[in-house]
């Protein structure tokens, strides 16, 4: 992979995603779970049980929504379909690792999603102007970096699951199995600070909090252990990257080019 391939892949995938802009807008709209949770927790008693006021809650869930929008990965579904229908075959016969194509497709999809997410966030601020605040530039940069790393984590986790397609035709079922722990342990349904200590400890032993909670807290200006968070993210990335490559190397030998 070099700069030119990256540029061409990204611009081509962006053109492709623009063809599906309406669908992507609907995807963005369908990711409103954090706003539903905001509605639930905004009741005065519930909010106080979390130790957060309405404004902090609003900022957290908006940040959760934004982070989720830019950390979504669907590589397992795309890969599974391509592997089952033989579309993976031409990718394997080109001197470029097929995962780069999926990565480019994700990044292009995020770029397409950006205006819709901005519109939803702007609407949120219009409805709740008291939650609007400009984060300090340094904090904003850290939040951006954390969001990008969170995406990398999610992408590598899903890519590792996708590699299981070489053994099982329905590897995406495993991804669906992970959805429930992800929802509860990532901080998407509530800030982790609201969880009982044992539960919180359990959550931090998984990669899930670093996919939503950590970058969302950075973006929302909430309390967060910055250095420890980034260390944990790097640790998970260093674990998942070789795992993914190992699964790929082992699994691709089993590829039978079904459907081709």
């Amino acid at each position: 992979m070099n700069g030119r391939i990256a540029r061409v892949l990204l611009s081509t995938q962006y053109a492709y995603m623009l063809e599906y802009r309406a669908e992507i807008a609907l995807w963005a709209l369908s990711g409103v779970l954090p706003f539903i949770m905001l509605g639930v927790w905004s009741q005065a008693e519930a909010a106080s049980s979390l130790g957060l006021d309405r404004i902090q809650l609003g900022r957290y869930f908006l940040a959760g929504f934004v982070v989720r929008q830019f950390t979504l990965a669907w590589v397992v579904f795309a890969f599974e379909e391509d592997a089952l229908q033989g579309r993976l075959s031409p990718y394997l016969l080109q001197p470029l690792h097929p995962l780069w194509r999926y990565l480019a497709a994700h990044l292009a999809e995020q770029a397409t999603r950006l205006p819709f997410v901005a519109a939803i966030a702007a609407t949120f601020f219009l409805l709740q102007p008291e939650t609007f605040a400009l984060a300090a530039p340094q904090r904003l940069l850290l939040a951006l970096l954390a969001t990008w790393l969170a995406f990398a984590l999610n992408f590598l986790l899903q890519s590792s699951i996708a590699c299981l397609c070489f053994w099982s035709e329905r590897a995406s079922a495993l991804e669906r199995l992970l959805l429930i722990p992800f929802l509860f342990l990532s901080g998407l349904v509530a800030p982790l600070e609201a969880y009982p200590p044992a539960m919180r400890q359990l959550a931090y032993a998984t990669p899930f909090p670093y996919m939503i909670h950590f970058p969302a807290q950075l973006l929302a200006g909430g309390p967060v252990a910055v250095a420890a968070g980034f260390r944990a993210m790097l640790g998970w990335l260093l674990l998942l990257l070789p795992l993914c490559l190992l699964l790929w190397r082992t699994g691709v030998r089993r590829y039978t080019a079904m459907g081709a």
């Binding site: 540029r7 061409v8 081509t12 080109q94 590829y255 080019a257």
Partner: protein
């Protein structure tokens, strides 16, 4: 030195078997039964640089599996393959830059974008600079008679236009070895002819080595002086197409137009009677008796017109596979 060397190649697939019905479903769920299927067995051959070789066999004979192993898409279970000095299954960059695999009805072009977008991606992946990629696209587009189709979304192209664009994409990096699996599948007669003439032209211009499978014998007879015949995973013929016809059909077909119907003629004195309809008679005659028999026919009978031909190769091969005469 051979560009493609295949030695005792084998591929075995493990297939899960399930009996029909509910009981079969439960049994399949509790304890899966597998069966090993030998798709390719002990296949050996070599192909020299620049050769165009046809790969023939009925459905499920092992043609596509062999092509997948030659292109590095799947790993062989036994034996060895070497293509352009590489072990294909390692899929090293230097190897991938020298080969291409085109599978009819399978596409690498991005469905919703014009072919030019996919070509830009391929050019970048194979490290072609913009000038060179433009030149090659122009050259191949001219050979394939493609023009404004390259700027239309792939989904809006006809099957023939799409296949030509697929070929362009597959050949942009100018591979030395082409593995073509049914490249004319589903195309109309004109489109088939265009693809055939393109492949012949490509082979002439760039000296590319081609291994081609096709169910259309016209592809094989037009392009491939040499053929490999495979049946039930085993190679049972490797040689010239003309020699194959000779081996499969040691006779010539003679068509006679008579001045009047002659129902009483003892045709077996001349050869094997294939058909006799009114004034038209078809006979099969052994080549070593052909001249003498033709002379007798012309002497004995009121022949208005006479035509000698080889029986169509597809008919011979089809009969061969149907009769299972290949063991």
């Amino acid at each position: 030195m051979s560009l493609v060397r295949v030695d005792d190649l084998g591929k075995t697939y493990r297939i899960a078997e399930k009996q029909p019905g509910l009981a079969g479903t439960f049994r399949h769920f509790v304890k899966r039964r597998h069966r090993d299927v030998e798709a390719v067995r002990g296949v050996s051959f070599t192909i020299e640089a620049g050769e165009v070789v046809g790969f023939l066999g009925p459905n499920g004979a092992g043609k596509t599996t062999t092509l997948k192993m030659l292109s590095g898409l799947i790993h062989p279970s036994s034996g060895s393959v070497e293509v352009a000095g590489h072990r294909p299954h390692r899929r090293q960059k230097a190897f991938l830059e020298q080969i291409t695999l085109v599978m009819g009805q399978k596409q690498q072009l991005i469905w919703d974008l014009p072919p030019l977008d996919s070509l830009r991606v391929n050019a970048a992946i194979y490290g072609l600079d913009q000038g060179e990629s433009r030149r090659r696209i122009g050259e191949l587009a001219e050979m394939l008679e493609l023009g404004e189709e390259l700027t239309r979304p792939v989904r809006k192209l006809s099957l023939g236009q799409r296949m030509k664009a697929e070929l362009l994409a597959a050949l942009l990096h100018r591979p030395a070895v082409l593995f073509l699996d049914e490249p004319t599948l589903g195309l109309d007669v004109n489109a088939q002819a265009r693809v055939r003439s393109f492949l012949a032209d490509y082979n002439r211009r760039f000296g590319a080595t081609v291994l081609l499978t096709s169910h259309y014998m016209a592809d094989i007879t037009a392009l491939c002086p040499r053929v490999l015949l495979i049946h039930q995973g085993r190679l049972f013929y490797d040689g010239q197409l003309s020699a194959l016809a000779e081996r499969l059909a040691p006779y010539r077909q003679v068509r006679l137009d008579l001045a009047r119907p002659l129902p009483e003629v003892p045709w077996s004195d001349y050869g094997e009677l294939e058909s006799c309809e009114a004034r038209e008679v078809r006979l099969l005659i052994q080549p070593d008796r052909l001249t003498e028999t033709l002379a007798r026919l012309l002497n004995d009978l009121p022949v208005v017109d006479l035509e000698v031909s080889d029986p169509p190769i597809e008919e011979l091969i089809g009969r061969l596979f149907r009769q299972g005469e290949v063991a």
